[in-house]
Subunit: 580 residues, 2 copies
């Protein structure tokens, strides 16, 4: 509230509200959505000092926006998002989603925290100043995600508390380590205690019954992992806010919307969690969830309430989420006739989208990356060895079975030929090698195993995005291509590369912690498509091999995954051998 | 959250919730109101460490309460109350309202703050520890209420901020000085700025339009002064929580209930504001509002939601307001067949009401009153002079016209005889004298004027409760009786006295800041009735002359009022002469 709370701003806003001074800007000819009453009102919206002075026919210009009778709503709030998943920095992410009517995001900088620790979070905070939307960071609760991997950082309660004391985080982001909570892991509990006075987001897929009760006793108040109405109904009844998610992979709205009734609506919000550039560009952000809810027949006022007032209430952001005196002037003018698309967007009273003219992005000072963000790839890349040793002429190996559009995998086994004591791939049968190589400069650990589902007939793809540790992950039909791909990623200081033999076929640099590009989102999207095409050209079968690649190392999602420390049987939550 | 937040309590609660340890107590055979879904559930409620571990059929004793199929709800929350109006200390207030199912009150110690300042607020905080209900103090925002009176204290932003920093107050209590806010009074604005990160209650009777907008730009978020649905509808639409009030005098529920719809219900709470002992004993507290709402046909789940989840949300008390894991074990078992009366009440897991047996109050250490609370009457009582000078044989004077059961007065004039240069009362025509004498030891100021409506044919009544400055106020038919009454109040160190000539007919000591008794509420109630009867015996016509007496000095409520500084024309908000 610092800006709002200055005596000068408070006085100015009071004077404008009572009619003693002219507003900075007035929206006229509005049909205003009142989220408190669920009704449409007429009136002019007076704006001063970045806030709404009030709604009244008495407010007048000189500076006005004629809304021409269009619907005006509060700016949208994304209740949970990882900006890193856009592959863009907050600056470029902001330009895209603000134009969609999103004016606040509750962002969990979990990915960069796993690479660059506190430095990474501070960098994201610095990058988030002066943007077209308000980025509220939540403290990443689970860095590293588990003890079965090597992350770039290990954040404890004290680290996170320091962030909170410094005003850099609003609350605690998704507590993913639900077994840790339920079985009293000291680190989990000390983090929860440190954030006891803030909002704490949950993450508890399929958790129910007494274990869910145990999880909730710690003050965790929301969940965005519900995928079916039975699960969501239990969580709702036990007091969790349900954040309905439409990410790139995870699409929960259709399943959960039937739970939203007049009675329960107040307990639901919308979020995007992880969206790749293509989805942000074609579908949108939270605006997409509103359109989809409307297509299901949900009333306009309810759909918008779930994207405005409700998340404002859950997060205790009493300064936004409604068109009312004293709230931030986050406002969106919608063209309902044109598939509910934004025409004007105001963020804290500043126009960030307007009809007709391309708006120059607000000039913001360049942010210097700290070393841990700018130089995040550390390894002896030339000496990497993808050998998998076995005796005899055939070996039975465990194989990660990747599945189209899912982040869960199957735990398969198959028999592979052994030559000179080394297990061979079998591209014809879609059995490739996968390796994860520690890249944070801690221990240089690596694991090589086998994977099916990608379908490459030749070549390799490698990347520095591998949830959640973000070590270097590479999949390939042959060792030479894998070496080339690893070197390409290393040479870019992070990124994604597709190679064959000695040739780099396509690549996208991600110099920001090996996770994000410095290019605008449109450009990143084009690079992404080039990479997808290159994979297809190599015989790749997955719709989005880059996304799938990045989830093969996530050992907290079933069934068989791989980290730098070894092959992980997620159900047993322990390592297993590659060769059976 | 200090108690809940200790690692030991957190671990214990987790273990009980997941079934690894036995609960401290289990409620069985319950019909549980789920305020999130608005439905009635079955299940056993497990309690440990003062909190709810969870609801499940799997939880078992050894210690159980058999609810015999009765309705179980969360403990009630009174969203705005002045404990001082009960004439009892928090301890005795607590015993009465907790037995009514109220387990949390948002208390504004405005009255004692006007007498004893910060000392008084700290005293109330100390008195509120270890009670049968949780008293959350809100910082009194308007001490003194105006510049037209002499209060015992003057609290500025720094004083109040210190209280907040010390954890003694939860937020800012009713900002009554709405003209001050609208016209940028520096003290008002600095107080609002100091509490910008907390919840700020409003108080803005009849305010609307641009002035209401101006008031709300400062972050004020609730109002409990709405008396008609038009006013409340505007405030609701502008984002205020509407706290529906049923005080002793102010009764707003019937008028406001029609505004509560499926859509708007979440924005309404219940409060009592000011209730005298008789009403607490006969009608009750927030439980009375629930019964009354039910009598109007409101659904059970809505009526309870407005007294539980809604105030918890408005005040950001995410640790209560629902029967859900991790929330305080504030629980009420109701007998619906017996006019919805509480059978069991648990406060933070402790039984504070149970059937059949009278429960001994929890032993709490005696609280030593600070000097400013224990010795709050300062004056030269023997030299008080009630003369009103005038020349001639008749004088036209302004007369305060008191009205049955209202705190507004009429601004009347009448002609009175003058003897020896002094204006005389006329008890036969119901024209008595009224005087307010400064009692805080600051300046000894006093004013004497005339009043009608009380009807005393002889004698006088005096008291040390006079909103909001709480100077000594006395009304009488003759000067001698007035002197006796003033001396009686002074001799008690504060209280109310009814006298005739030299005789004290009835009196009630209020040694705690001249506002509260140290006796239990039942005893205070008996004393109150004796005083009422004594007034009636003197010819008094008002149903509650003590209440009326205490509001004749409140110069922020129309029309003609009196303070130690002079007779106040409230509409002009300035002093006027007694003799015209």
């Amino acid at each position: 509230m610092s800006e709002h709370n200055s005596p000068q701003h408070m006085r100015r806003l009071i004077r404008v509200a009572r009619g003693a001074e002219r507003p900075d800007l007035v929206l006229v000819n509005c049909r205003l959505l009142n989220v408190f009453t669920g009704t449409i009102e007429e009136g002019n919206v007076a704006i001063a000092a970045g806030h709404i002075a009030g709604v009244s026919p008495d407010y007048a210009g000189p500076d006005t926006i004629d809304c021409q009778g269009l619907l005006v709503t509060p700016g949208l709030i994304d209740a949970h998002v990882h900006i890193e998943s856009s592959l863009c920095t907050p600056r470029h992410f902001s330009q895209i989603v603000a134009a969609r009517g999103v004016t606040t995001v509750m962002a969990d900088p979990h990915e960069i925290a796993n690479v660059s620790g506190i430095d990474g979070i501070r960098y994201m905070h610095t990058c988030s100043q002066g943007l077209d939307l308000d980025v509220k960071l939540m403290a990443p609760s689970c860095v590293p995600a588990s003890h079965l991997e090597t992350s770039g950082a290990d954040l404890d309660a004290e680290d996170l508390q320091d962030l909170h004391a410094a005003g850099l985080v609003w609350g605690l982001a998704e507590m993913m380590n639900y077994p840790g909570v339920i079985f009293e892991d000291p680190k989990c509990l000390s983090i929860l205690q440190a954030f006891g006075d803030t909002r704490v987001d949950g993450h508890a897929p399929h958790l129910g019954g007494l274990e869910l009760n145990a999880y909730l006793t710690t003050g965790i108040g929301s969940d965005h992992e519900c995928t079916n109405p039975v699960e969501a109904a239990e969580k709702l009844a036990k007091g969790m806010y349900i954040l309905i998610r439409e990410g790139t992979i995870t699409r929960d709205l259709d399943a959960l919307l039937p739970l939203v009734t007049d009675r329960t609506m107040r307990r639901f919000c919308f979020c995007t969690d992880d969206r790749i550039p293509a989805d942000l560009l074609t579908e949108g952000s939270v605006d997409y969830l509103i359109r989809r809810a409307r297509a299901h027949g949900m009333a306009l006022e309810d759909a918008f309430c779930m994207a405005t007032l409700n998340p404002a209430e859950w997060f205790g952001l009493s300064d936004r989420g409604a068109i009312a005196p004293g709230r931030r002037a986050d406002l969106v003018v919608w063209d309902e006739a044109n598939d509910l698309s934004p025409v004007w967007v105001l963020s804290a009273g500043r126009v960030v989208l307007q009809p007709g003219t391309e708006r120059d992005p607000r000039p913001i000072p360049a942010v210097v990356m700290p070393t841990s963000v700018a130089q995040s790839l550390h390894g002896q890349w030339e000496t990497v060895n993808f050998d998998v040793a076995a005796s005899g002429s055939q070996a039975t190996v465990r194989v990660i079975g990747s599945i189209e559009n899912q982040i869960v995998t199957e735990h398969r086994q198959c028999s592979l030929p052994v030559l000179n004591g080394r297990v061979q791939t079998n591209p014809t049968a879609d059995i490739l090698k996968i390796a994860v190589i520690e890249r944070h400069g801690h221990n240089g650990s690596m694991t090589t195993a086998f994977i099916s589902g990608f379908g490459l007939q030749r070549g390799a793809l490698a990347g520095s995005i591998a949830h959640d540790h973000h070590n270097l992950v590479v999949i390939g039909a042959d060792d030479a291509s894998m070496h080339t791909a690893v070197r390409a990623v290393a040479n870019m200081g992070g990124g994604i590369a597709i190679c064959h033999g000695d040739a780099v076929l396509a690549q996208m640099p991600l110099p920001v912690a090996g996770l994000m590009s410095e290019a605008p989102l449109l450009e990143v999207h084009a690079q992404y498509r080039t990479l997808q095409q290159a994979s297809t050209d190599l015989g790749g079968r997955l719709h989005d091999p880059l996304m799938s690649l990045s989830f093969m190392g996530l050992e907290v999602v079933p069934s068989l995954k791989i980290t730098d420390q070894g092959l992980v049987d997620v159900d047993a939550f322990d390592f297993v051998s590659v060769v059976v």
